[in-house]
Structure formats: C-alpha cells, structure tokens
Amino acid sequence: MGQDSAPRPYLSIVLTGRNDGYGGDFVKRFLASLQFNHRELSGRGVSHEFVLVEWAPVAGAPLLADLVEARCPPPVSAALRTVVVDAAYHEAMTLNPLLRFHEYLAKNVGVRRARGEYILVSNCDVILGRHILAQLERRSLEPQVVYRAPRRDLVAALDIEHLHWEALEDQANLARPGKQLRPPYFRGSTGDFIALDQMSFHRLRAFNEIYRLARVGVDANLLVLALSSGLTIVDIGGPVYHIDHEGSFQTLKAKYVAGESDAQHGHERWNFNSVVYRNRPQWGLSDAPEEPRGPRRTYLQFSWDAVPPLVDLSGVVLPARREDGSSSTSADA
C-alpha cells in the first residue's frame, strides 16, 4: 500500500464505509467528522492518518473515496488513505446473505494496513472528544491496553457542518442519557472507539473473521479476546460524540425486534461473550493483490487465494479459565 516510506504516524484511525446512503447523507456526516477530527488532531500536533476502507462498493455508484476526496480540503485529503475492497470479497466471505456490509472484515483490512503506532478503530461519523484529544496530545497511550470511550448521542437536528465544542458538549443536545462503561469489558457502542497499539492489534489478529454472520457483537467479541489474552481494557476517560441519524443500530434495533433473522446487522444473540476465535495468519485480506490507484489509494483485487475458508471451525476457541476465575484463550472448543 502507498506511503510506506512516509514517517510513521502516532495514530491511525481506521474507518469503513461505502456510498450506499447509509443513514441518510452519509458523505456529509463523514466529511464533517473527518474535518473536525483532523483539525483538532493537527492543532494538537498529533501525527495521524485516516485509513478508510471502502468495502464492497455499490455497483454503478460513485466510490465513496472519490466523493470524499473531491470535497475534502487538501490537508485532510493528505492524511486520508483509502483501500477499496472488491465487492467479490463480500460475496465470497459472507455466511449471511442478508448482511449487506461486513463492517469488521472491512475494519480488519484497515487494521492490517494501518501504519500508526496506535490504531483507533472507529466509525465515519464519530467525533473525538476533548479529553481523548488531550490524551493523544500527551502521547499517554500505553501498549497492551485497549482503550474504550463512551459514546454521547447528539440530536439529529444539530448542524453537523458547523460543529463546535459548545454544541457538542451542551447537555441539552444529548439525544439520550450517556451510558457509563463498566468493567471488565467496558462494552457499549464498542465499534465507535477501540484503540490499541499496532503490535497488540496484530497479536490478537484483529476482529473475528471466523463468525461471519453478524455485525452485532463482533466488536465486543474482540474485547473478550483481548482480556482473555492478557491485555488490559480501560475507559480512556472522556466521550466520543455521534449525531443521531436514520438507520443507526439504535433505530434499526427497534425496527427489527420482531424478526431478527431479517436484520441487516445479522444475528444479535450469538455467543460473543463466551466464545472467542483465532483468525488465520492471513487475516485482513493480507494476501489480496493490491493495485495502487493514485498516491493514497489502493484497490484490493479479488483472488480466491486471499479468501479464507468458508468454514474454519478450528478457529472457534474457548477462553481458558485462569486461577482467578477470568479466562484466557487456549484450547480448541
């Protein structure tokens, strides 16, 4: 992937998406949060890159990468690298034909290729809070620690194109009361903020690529794996912000409550709390042929050689119990 010779940034922010109109004007929300986060990080001297993985682009529609790059100010574009993943990978890898977007397979593609000392896996419409930015500015993140942050949902009526701290931090703009993260896993909107040093992320082999039937729970499943692998999980101490929109999991959850099998987020009640996984060494489509398409864009061409087996039951693993009652991954189930 391009930019390998560039200095290694302190932080890689891995984001995923595509131009499918997810949640209304997805591009507008993405651009707003991208620019805000870039401005705040740059202002604090935090070297960073955004790794956008465009998973299974919609046929016939413009690429999200094109739309973003066209509307992004040059300094933001310079910090953005995109990986476009051939849609055939989705078809080849999915185990749930109802699932339209394998968010965590996409995120693994980004994690695998992120160059930062630390990797933050987040979402395109998530805005970093002031406390998190201060931590990054101080470079106070530690290796082998998974950092989590609670999410504050803000009302959809907020003017996303003119974001400022007063609006973000105004309690009156909260769409619902914020939830506190609780140990040991500090779960809750996990996919919006998981930060970990690159080496530990690679040691875990990122998110579950064995159970490819759901979007829900895959992020929490990583936390179970992390804890059982001896990593520490902490609340970083301040929130991220997210502006409510149509199609978010919060709204879809109510919509699909009667028929889970139809939910586009896949199974909600799989055993992500009690079973972990061991991905293949080739996780994150590492063997996919990469075709450079510009200075900061890579296209992953489809190859069956890069596709993991449809079924890999040896990768379904139980967390082994320790003396203190917690668990660590070991034996095959």
Binding site: T94, L95, N96, P97, I210, Y211, R212, L213, H267, W270, N271, S274, V275, L310, V311, L313, V316, V317, L318, P319, A333
Partner: protein, 164 residues
C-alpha cells in the same frame, strides 16, 4: 438447889424433862423432815438418773439412727456416684462415637462439596462447549445457506437444458 441435887442423882425436873421432850420432838420432827427430804431427794435423784438414762438411750438410739441414715446416704451417694461414673463413661464413649461420626460426616461433606464443585466445573465446561458448538452450528448453517444460494445460481436455465 433442888435442881442441883436432882442433877446430882441423875434426875431432872419436870420442866427440864418437858423441855427435853420438846427438843426431842423437834429433833424427831426435823429428822423426819430430813428423812422425807432425803427420800424426796433420792427419788428426784432416781428420777433424774432415770431421765438421764432415758436421754442417753434416746441419744444413743438417735445416734444409731443418724449413723444408719448417714450410712444409707453414703451408700446411696456411692451408688449414685458409681452410676454417674458409669453414665459419664457411657456419655464419653457416645461423645467419642459422635465425634467420629461428625468427622466422618465432615469428610463426607468435604467430598460432596468437592463433587459439587467438580460438577459445577463440568457444567460450566459443558456450557462453554455448548456455546462453542452453537457458534460452530451457526457457521455451518450459514455456510450451508451460502452454498445453497451459490448452487442455485449455478443451475442451468431451462433454455440450457437441451432440446425439447
């Protein structure tokens, strides 16, 4: 003079005789009184002696009775002590036996607790294995569905089936 003369021959006057007779009577009377008092005293002494003898007899009898009571009590206490000793020995033995039973129960309880802990562990392991099996079944079911869709996609259309 006459009196002196009479005395000289050993005679006394009537007066003197009367006086002597009176003295004699007094003496006799005193003697009788003394004799009577002596008799009374003797009788009283006899009675007192009898009383003392009677008291002594009663005392002795009482002593004998008390001695007998004491002996009876002593015997009873000795019997009671012997019975108590036997009971103590019996109770001590029962206590030892109960101690042994208690120890056996405690051992049994410990063994049961270990068995329960082991069963819980087995149950937890079984639950975990079941969770893993459910995940595997999900995967297999998903794979089957996907392969089904792919296979149907490969099915030749009617026009490809050949002539007719």
């Amino acid at each position: 003079m006459i009196r002196r003369l009479l005395r000289g021959v050993g005679l006394a006057t009537r007066g003197e005789v009367h006086a002597a007779e009176a003295k004699l009577r007094d003496g006799r009377a005193r003697l009788e009184k003394a004799t009577a008092r002596l008799a009374e005293a003797s009788a009283a002494a006899q009675r007192a002696q009898e009383t003392r003898r009677e008291d002594a007899r009663r005392f002795k009898a009482r002593v004998t009775e008390l001695e007998s009571d004491r002996q009876r009590h002593a015997d009873r206490h000795q019997d009671a002590a012997a019975r108590a000793s036997r009971q103590i020995a019996q109770l001590t033995e029962e206590l030892r036996q109960r101690d042994r039973q208690l120890e056996a129960s405690l051992r049994q309880e410990t063994e049961l607790e270990q068995q329960v802990a082991s069963a819980k562990q087995d149950l937890e392991t079984a639950r975990e294995s079941l969770s893993a099996i459910e995940v595997k079944l999900d995967i297999l079911e998903g794979a089957a569905n996907v392969l089904d869709v792919r296979t149907r996609g490969l099915r030749p259309s009617r026009s490809d089936d050949g002539p007719g």
